[in-house]
Symmetry: C2
Amino acid sequence: MAEGQGQGVVKHILLAKFKEGISDHQIEEYAKQYANLVNLVPSMKAFAWGKDVSIENMNQGFTHVFESSFESTQGIAEYVAHPDHVDFANLLLPKLEKVLVVDYKPTSVLV
Amino acid sequence: MAEGQGQGVVKHILLAKFKEGISDHQIEEYAKQYANLVNLVPSMKAFAWGKDVSIENMNQGFTHVFESSFESTQGIAEYVAHPDHVDFANLLLPKLEKVLVVDYKPTSVLV
């Protein structure tokens, strides 16, 4: 089945603004733990992250992007309910001043 | 050079909430015009979009994700200043109730 159709890849994007006092080193440690969920949650297929480097001043204070990939929305539901995800969320969320999560199936457009 | 390092791919993510009264059909037309920027702006290498399908109720009202890819942050700066982007932004932004933009170099973590 083509990517972006039906059960194609679904991206899970978490935008974060860390609380003051959380160092870059600590953020890297959280990113490692986040990445390690790929090894613990079967439905999570890939992970990447990065610091916001936008220049348009439309980031609404968010400073980091965490992007994970699943094979279906059902896979995200399994991830959300997975005890290792719940443990990590309980660790990470108190460190965040702002958080936003969206999921989407990236679809290309022929033009 | 490895992706995610140095001049590796930079993702440009726009989250949108369209104003009431903008139909799904109109949103698809805007997505086509957004996608067509790949043909008009040399530094823009890829485009995909999707409707938010998240289940965690942390989307802060955003309903659509538009994801474009560049080879460098300089490429995004060229895109932002490009007249065809400016024209499209002037068309799209008034249709949005909320908008958020972040750019990041997706970096993997070895765990």
